[in-house]
């Protein structure tokens, strides 16, 4: 999958023009288990890179999700309200969390590409 980048906190971000889509990685959803609720930001919310923008709840616990880049929220994934398990089934496609209009696309430069992220995950535990 070209263009996808990952943060060390297991969020992904993919650019399409000057809007980027964000979510959590497959590794993250595996670690969390069945997701039962996702709290999303409001459209129009301004975020700085590494701000908490969402909370993901599994049966047992809540986890914070941080934005890999700065920007303004343009859209959130309404489908997750009725089907939070989309995050488990399709973490990097249908289980997307939000779209943001980026302040500065170069913030993505230091993030990991897919191969680097996979290596990073293998090195964990």
């Amino acid at each position: 999958m070209s263009g996808i980048k990952y943060s060390p906190d297991h969020e992904w971000i993919r650019i399409d023009g000057d809007v980027a889509t964000c979510g959590i990685s497959n590794h993250a959803q595996e670690q969390l288990g069945d997701i039962v609720y996702v709290e999303l930001p409001s459209v129009g919310q301004a975020l700085k890179a590494k701000d908490q923008f969402a909370v993901v709840e599994s049966v047992k616990a809540a986890s914070e999700v941080y934005t890999p880049a700065s920007g303004t929220v343009t859209e959130v994934n309404e489908a997750l309200a009725d089907e939070p398990t989309l995050v488990n089934q399709s973490p990097t496609e249908n289980g997307w969390f939000m779209k943001i209009k980026l302040d500065d696309a170069s913030e993505l430069d230091p993030l990991m590409d897919e191969a680097a992220y996979n290596t990073f995950v293998e090195g964990l535990d």
Binding site: V36, K60, A62
Partner: protein, 370 residues
């Protein structure tokens, strides 16, 4: 990666690893929080088929003597003397202030009482019983027994294939019986709200017995994660969370465990304090809570009234897979304890509407004698 060997292991530890158990520390033991299926599926499977749980970390104890029921009554609130052979009851250890030291199950096993206590309180409970019953009864811990729970509507069929005598048991009854030829003590009880059994088996036969049960097509292994969501939906307390030394049976809505004659006769720790509370009322009560939205409200979440004044705290909360939404249990000021009362749960600072509700959240499946 399994916990290094400072943790204790139950007789089913190897089985958990073989079956893909995700191991976590719990009450000093290395226990499976879930298996490959995950908490959600394991929970749902238990309510539709049969879940097998390793609860060997809990404390199993025998009380023996001329009158073990009378002796044990000196440290618990309940009526044990009227338990007929084969009958069992839920009861509480209390302290002098009327606070709850642990909750436990007591079964009249004929020539002794069979007691099961929480893993986290095991050592204290044994000490408490030995001190309290000294000279009157023998308190014999059973560290070489495993405890396997099989819960769900299909549990009876699965266990019955190995132990036909279970057909003689109704809810809250127990008996010694062979299970697959091995001498066990089986009770029809559990912590899920479903029909089910707890099998006390010799440790060296436990793994084979569990594997035999798991061979049955309806039986799947279930971890502690689903054990918690199941008991929460069933409205059952978790010691250390919903009840503890600072909560009395009156506040905890567990006054039903103290029959009238025991309130009158006393003879258990804290009776004066508890009688005082019955007389004067209590400031707070344990209630069920049903958030109206989809956000779970977890332990520690503050509960507020319509004006934002904090009136209580959530002591257990999460997502109820069978309910299909969030459920919780907590304490509120007594004026707010009536079912249907509207409250707000302050989840991450935002007030979320919820309703005080009766428990259990799901209908029980117990096999009751009519």
């Amino acid at each position: 990666m399994a916990e290094p060997q400072t943790s204790q292991r139950t007789p089913l530890h190897a089985l958990h690893l073989r079956r893909g158990g995700k191991m976590v520390p719990f009450a000093g033991y290395d226990m499976p929080v879930q298996y490959a299926a995950g908490v959600l599926k394991e929970h749902l499977h238990t309510r539709t088929a049969a879940g097998l749980f390793d609860v060997s970390h809990m404390g199993q104890v025998q009380i023996a003597g001329d009158d073990p029921a009378a002796a044990l009554e000196s440290v618990v609130v309940g009526d044990l003397r009227s338990l007929a052979p084969g009958e069992m009851r839920y009861t509480l250890f209390t302290n002098q202030q009327g606070g709850i030291l642990d909750d436990l199950m007591v079964t009249n096993a004929g020539d002794h009482l069979f007691v099961v206590v929480n893993a986290a309180c095991k050592d204290q409970d044994i000490t408490l019983m030995q001190a309290g019953l000294a000279g009157r009864a023998e308190v014999v811990p059973l560290p070489d027994r495993a405890l396997i729970a099989l819960q769900g509507p299909k549990a009876a069929a699965a266990l019955g294939a190995l132990a036909p005598d279970i057909d003689g048991l109704f809810f809250l009854q127990g008996a010694a019986m062979p299970v697959d030829g091995v001498a066990c003590f089986v009770t029809r009880s559990g912590y899920t709200g479903e029909d089910g059994f707890e099998v006390s088996a010799p440790a060296d036969h436990a793994e084979a017995l569990a594997e035999k049960l798991l061979d049955h097509p309806d039986v799947e292994p279930v971890g502690l994660g689903a054990r918690d969501s199941l008991r929460l939906e069933a409205g059952l307390c978790l010691y250390g969370h919903d009840i503890d030394e600072t909560t009395s049976p009156v506040e905890a809505s567990l006054l039903w465990t103290i029959p009238k004659h025991r309130r009158e006769a006393g003879g258990f720790p804290g009776v004066e304090a508890i009688l005082g509370q019955i007389e004067a009322g209590v400031a707070r009560k344990r209630v069920g809570l049903r958030p109206e939205g989809k956000a779970p409200a977890r332990e520690g979440t503050e509960i507020a009234d319509g004006d934002g004044r904090v009136i209580g705290t959530v002591t257990s909360g999460g997502f109820g897979p069978s309910v299909g939404g969030p459920v919780a249990m907590g304490y509120v000021e007594t004026a707010f304890a009536k079912p249907e009362t509207s409250v707000n749960l302050l989840v991450r600072g935002t007030p979320r509407p919820a309703v005080v509700t009766r428990m259990p959240f799901v209908a029980p499946g117990y096999r009751r004698a009519d």
